[in-house]
């Protein structure tokens, strides 16, 4: 029996052809494919750009195991930030924009392992940093008014 081929189209219309077990890592796509009887299915993904889709496919292709993916449980343990494999670490070497786009895509397509990996990478960027360092990393302005900061400081001291 030949492996089912799935055609994915990005927002710009670029087509990617992948095997079913690669696409099945996305719960959204798996549900769509189960309902669709045709051997060659086409899934349009207008919310995912070409470079991000390429990254997602790269991840899913590397992690294809054929084992069933467990259904998402909102309270399940996020991936341990320290247990990231070598391939995964190298995969996550990318600029912030791509990384966050990847998080959004993984959330949109419901690929929990990829979401966990990307979030763990960002968590490492936040971990052990002071507020000012976090601001510098993510380019955020401190919008607390000076009054609010000193009020808080005063209360903290009086405690």
């Amino acid at each position: 029996m030949s492996v089912r081929k799935i055609k994915l189209t990005s927002s710009e219309g670029t087509e990617f052809v992948v095997d079913a077990d690669v696409a099945n890592q996305s719960v959204i796509m798996r549900n769509m494919l189960e309902n669709c009887e045709a051997h060659d299915a086409v899934i349009p993904l207008p919310d995912v750009t070409t470079p991000i889709l390429a990254k997602v496919i790269e991840y899913c292709t590397h992690h294809r195991t054929g084992a069933p993916i467990p259904t998402d449980d909102a309270n399940s343990v996020p991936k341990k930030t320290d247990n990231i494999g070598k391939w995964d670490t190298e995969f996550c070497q990318m600029d912030q924009e791509t990384l966050f786009d990847l998080i959004l895509a993984a959330d949109h397509l419901d690929i929990k392992p990829l979401l966990d990996l990307a979030c763990a990478t960002v968590a490492n960027m936040i971990h052990n940093k002071s507020p000012e360092e976090i601001r510098q990393t993510f380019n955020i302005l401190n919008d607390f008014s000076l009054a609010e900061i000193s009020k808080d400081n005063e209360r903290m001291e009086q405690k």
């Binding site: 309270n75 343990v77 996020p78 991936k79 341990k80 930030t81 320290d82 912030q96 924009e97 990384l99 966050f100 786009d101 998080i103 959004l104 959330d107 979401l115 966990d116 979030c119 763990a120 960002v122 968590a123 936040i126 971990h127 052990n128 940093k129 002071s130 507020p131 000012e132 360092e133 976090i134 601001r135 510098q136 993510f138 380019n139 955020i140 302005l141 401190n142 919008d143 607390f144 008014s145 000076l146 009054a147 609010e148 900061i149 000193s150 009020k151 808080d152 400081n153 005063e154 209360r155 903290m156 001291e157 009086q158 405690k159």
Partner: protein, 464 residues
């Protein structure tokens, strides 16, 4: 024997002299704060007494009070307005001083200001990096900082539990549509692309790693503050931090059979005690900390003559460190004493794991050398492994075994306490005994030489 008592006498004399010095200093400081500010509009008498008790702080606040009578009496409102003026001009350090004066006199100075000047809205000044300290030194994972306990234990305030200090601010923020403002105008903020649910999912990763990081995250901007207070985040943390380890396996089985997992039922029962607030539960409910070690240290003086052959004169100079409440001797020799007295320290380490196991070690080795290696598999003398459980009221019970003494089981009962430095930081001894299975006898150890354990973070520990 005579030598020992002489040493003790001299040490006592030393202690007495030092105490006198400290008392003298305290008196000077207190008398300096005496000139009370005459009653301005919303003067709260409690604030000055709070200042006096804050002896550990640097002299900054009391000094200012001494200086201000020269300026003339000012109401908190006037301070607040001055602060705003200074802020507008860009003189932030003066502004901050004035704000602090205003808040010292009236903790709700900003509300008072708002009421008086309804047409003026407090300016949203961009706090420059001068107002915020940034520590960009990279801390190596192997670095270890041991925290020594100073001062009194944490005393829970009477009556109702303290409210979140930022409650007013949070109430305000909840009604607002918040966005992040970029630091550099031309560059976008990528993290702001994430919807709040995804941001929360991200924070779940961060909080399990380090709760302090989430606290820092909350200080970045208003939007992040609001997001970090979301209950689902703290619930997630609580479910990780609190286990009933002994029933863990049973709970798994029960969970598999029933719809409602046992641990969650217990969690909700506990939650009711804390007013349904997961964050409050995490802060107040006794728990063990897994991201470091609890260390108990014991110092004492020993006569060198007996130990001379084992010791080298590594530190010939005397370095005695005085901190409020405790006299620390950090040396090997004290030259001015007639016989060579050596200050020895030995440490007891306790490391807990979420699965209900615990490691205990007794050694003279310093923390920085030991903490890295502290694991159940470590092969050393005086290393105990065992299990623990937490009972109501923060009572901790340990059951330990020493590989070198298989017939003895050690039972320790301790109380989890909090200190000024942080919560669930301290373990106090309640009882320590052992049971010998061969002789069927129980021995209770005296607690005289047992000092409480204090918690220190170890960055390299990964506990989840």
């Amino acid at each position: 024997m005579l030598d020992d008592s002489v040493e003790q006498d001299e040490l006592e004399e030393f202690r007495r002299r030092w105490k006198q010095e400290v008392e003298a200093k305290k008196f000077v400081k207190n008398s300096g704060v005496q000139p009370q500010l005459p009653k301005p509009k919303a003067f709260r008498p409690s604030t000055t007494s709070v200042l006096e008790s804050h002896s550990a702080e640097p002299d900054d606040p009391p000094k200012r009070d001494r200086d201000s009578p020269v300026v003339g009496q000012k109401t908190s409102l006037e301070y607040y307005m001055t602060a705003i003026e200074k802020e507008k001009v860009g003189n932030l350090s003066e502004a901050l001083t004035n704000y602090r004066h205003a808040f010292k006199l009236d903790p709700d100075a900003d509300d008072s200001y708002r009421q008086h000047w309804q047409q003026h809205i407090a300016p949203h000044a961009a706090a420059t990096s001068a107002a915020v300290q940034s520590s960009s030194t990279v801390k190596h994972e192997d670095d270890f900082e041991r925290h020594v306990h100073l001062g009194d234990d944490y005393e829970k305030p009477n009556g109702l539990a303290p409210n979140d200090t930022l409650e007013n601010l949070l109430a305000q923020l909840r009604g607002m549509q918040l966005e992040c403002t970029p630091l550099k105008e031309d560059k976008p903020i990528f993290i702001a692309m994430l919807p709040n649910e995804v941001l929360l999912y991200l924070l779940k990763h961060v909080i399990v790693d380090s709760v302090a990081s989430v606290a820092h995250f909350a200080l970045v901007c208003r939007k992040f503050l609001l997001v970090s207070r979301d209950q689902t985040l703290w619930r997630h943390l609580c479910e990780h931090a609190y286990h009933d380890p002994k029933d863990h396996e049973e709970a798994q089985i029960i969970a598999a059979l029933a719809d409602e997992p046992e641990p969650r039922r217990t969690q909700f029962d506990q939650l009711r005690i804390y007013g349904g607030d997961w964050r409050r539960m995490y802060i107040e409910r006794p728990r063990l900390r897994f991201e470091g070690v609890y260390i108990s240290v014991c110092h004492y003086l020993r006569c060198a003559r007996k130990l001379r052959k084992f010791l080298e004169p590594a530190h010939p100079s005397c370095h005695v460190c005085m901190r409020s409440g405790c006299l620390h001797i950090f040396v090997s020799r004290i030259p001015h004493l007639p016989t060579n007295a050596i200050a020895t320290s030995y440490y007891r380490y306790l490391r807990f794991y979420p699965d209900g196991t615990v490691v205990k070690h007794l050694t003279t080795d310093e923390p920085s050398a030991v903490v890295r290696l502290l694991q159940p598999t470590l092969k050393r003398k005086s290393l105990f492994t065992g299990t623990y459980s937490i009972k109501d009221g923060g009572v901790l019970e340990l059951e330990l075994l020493d590989a070198d003494r298989p017939r003895e089981t050690f039972f320790a009962t301790m109380q989890i306490c909090s200190t000024h430095r942080g919560r669930q930081n301290k373990l106090e001894w309640v009882e320590y005994c052992s049971y010998n299975s061969l002789r069927e006898s129980r021995t209770v150890f005296p607690l005289k030489m047992m000092k409480p354990y204090f918690f220190s973070v170890v960055k390299s520990y990964r506990w989840w």
